[in-house]
Structure formats: structure tokens, C-alpha cells
Symmetry: C2
Subunit: 182 residues, 2 copies
């Protein structure tokens, strides 16, 4: 269905969605065009690169998670609940930690609940709040999926540990400047 990162090193692996590898880097190519016409192009190349990286990684990860009946969005929600002390959190807390819109949480929880991987519960004191609790099946599922994902480094290839750490570091600077945290 997706290949789940088997096959070969890097060259002849079929592209996720049926595209094939190009003989040149289209981002570098575009960057060249920009430079000719506008001069500075660093930020544009970086932004385009990030967009593309996200697309690649999400495709890779979703492909790995598909056999588990999960998407990355729902997987992340399950992980968050698994890490929580009581195995449950208010929806609002989930949105905050996952850094997504409240309606995205509603969406994810709806689907997870349909699969009986989580359960909505009333909050004991605040009737506005909905608690989301991970089920035993949810725990089992996320545990297995995690093993699988870690086995393939979350689809991340081509970077050694130091480079991986540096990448995270640079993006942390970006995120801080964007106001993600103080």
C-alpha cells in the first residue's frame, strides 16, 4: 500500500504518491530563478524545504500507521493521553499541547472514539469540560504503532544523530520567534 520504508536506500524507491524522482532538485532550481530575479532567496528556499519535508514525513508516517488504523494526528493524540498521569485529559488541554485548533481535537477524538481507542467522560466538577480517556485497546494500539515508528526513525532518513539534533535546534529558534513558547 505504501511500501513502509523497505526496499532500497534512496534512489529507486517509488515516491509515495506515484511520482518518480526528478533528475534535479526543483527547490534548488526555483531558488536559482529567484536569485536571478529578486536577489535574496534564503528564506524562500528554507520555507519551501520545510513544506516539502512535512509532506514527505507525513506521507511516510501515515503509510506506516495505516495498518494500525491510525493517522499521525490521531496517533499524536493517543501518545499524549498515554503520557498523561491519569490516562485522561480535557479536550482543551489536548489542543494546547498538540498545538492545534479546538475543532481539530474534536475531529480527532470523534474518530478515535468510533474506534473505541478513547472514551469521552464527564468532568467531575466542571460541566463544560469533556475528559478524554485512553482505553486499553488504545494503549495497546499506540504501543505497537510506536514500536513500528521507532524502528524506522519516524520516517526520517539521511541525517545522522548530530544533524538531526541540529535540525531540531534550528526549528526551535523559529518556533520561539513565532511565539510558540516563552
Amino acid at each position: 500500500m505504501r511500501g513502509v520504508a523497505g526496499a532500497g536506500g534512496s534512489a529507486q524507491r517509488p515516491r509515495p504518491n506515484g511520482r518518480r524522482a526528478l533528475a534535479f532538485d526543483p527547490i534548488a532550481e526555483a531558488s536559482r530563478h529567484w536569485r536571478e530575479r529578486f536577489g535574496e532567496t534564503g528564506p524562500m528556499a528554507a520555507v519551501t524545504s520545510i513544506m516539502r519535508a512535512q509532506q514527505i514525513l507525513l506521507g511516510e508516517i501515515d503509510g506506516i500507521l495505516r495498518p494500525f488504523g491510525l493517522s499521525f494526528a490521531r496517533y499524536e493524540a493517543l501518545v499524549l493521553l498515554m503520557f498523561s498521569r491519569r490516562g485522561s485529559l480535557p479536550m482543551s488541554k489536548m489542543g494546547e499541547r498538540l498545538m492545534v485548533h479546538p475543532t481539530s481535537v474534536t475531529n480527532a477524538v470523534d474518530r478515535l472514539e468510533q474506534d473505541e481507542l478513547v472514551r469521552r467522560m464527564a468532568h467531575p466538577t466542571d460541566r463544560r469540560t469533556t475528559l478524554v480517556e485512553i482505553t486499553d485497546e488504545g494503549r495497546a494500539r499506540v504501543e505497537r504503532a510506536t514500536t513500528e515508528l521507532m524502528g524506522v526513525d519516524f520516517g526520517l532518513r539521511g541525517l545522522d544523530p548530530a544533524e538531526t539534533a541540529r535540525l531540531t535546534e534550528l526549528i526551535t529558534l523559529l518556533r520561539q520567534a513565532a511565539g510558540d513558547f516563552t
Copy 2:
């Protein structure tokens, strides 16, 4: 509507979707949890960071483009056409260069055509092929949008030019390993 990247340096700017800055970095926090439980966490942190960076940048850019009646997806398509020699390209070529699924091109071109920023034309010799040509209005629009985007470094903040270049470089390694190009 979105703020268009004005206001302040980094701290008190309202988050794109109404979330506010947290007092800690949720990705670092999650990474700590992972390390406790599973040991290695480098790839997971990097992947999560990229996902978040994409979300931030896309929100930023779409906010800037909204006054121009464009989204980033459609903007990229217009830029591609603007850079092409004849101002027109086959849809398939566009999908290849933009690295998106053919149906995504159809979608983007549909909307651009409704706004009369591009025009579908028959290919002179191959009747399977649809050529997409940028209109004068399309050129004008993308020109103005580009000025705006370059003025705010495509929403990229917090990195100096060297760091920006390094970020692109690291992601290029990732993309190459994923088979984006040879």
C-alpha cells in the same frame, strides 16, 4: 484577520489561531517523556518540529496572502508559471515541479481559473495535455504578493542567513534520502 506579521518581536504576538504562547516548549516536554520511556528520541523530536514549523509558516503565509485572494498552494502555482519561459506549462509538469498529486494541480488550477489568474488552453499537438497559462492579472497579482512575502522573509523569523541556509541544507539531505531527486 490574521495580523500579517506586524506587532512585536516574538513574545506577545497573538498566536495565529487564537492560542497563546505556553510557558514551556511542548515538543521538548514530549521529548523528555519519550526519553524516559523509550530512550532514543532524536528523530521523533525532529519530525514533530518540522510538522509544527510547517503549520506555523503556512498559517503566517496564508495570512499574508489572504488580502491578495491567494493561498500558498495557488501562489506557488502562479510563481511556477511566472518563471516559465512561455508563461504556460502542462498540468503534469506543474505537478512534477510542485511535487504534488495531479489532482491537487487540478484543484488549484480550477480556483485560479475562476479568479481569471490563469487560463486553460489546448496543447497544440498532444490532445491529452492541458496547458495552463498565467494571465496578465495573474502576473500582476503574484508580483505584488511576492513583494509582500519577501518583505517579511516568508514568515521566517528567528534565524540569521547562515542558520537559514543550514536549515535548507539539512532538509535537502532528508529530501534526497527520500528520493526527491537524484
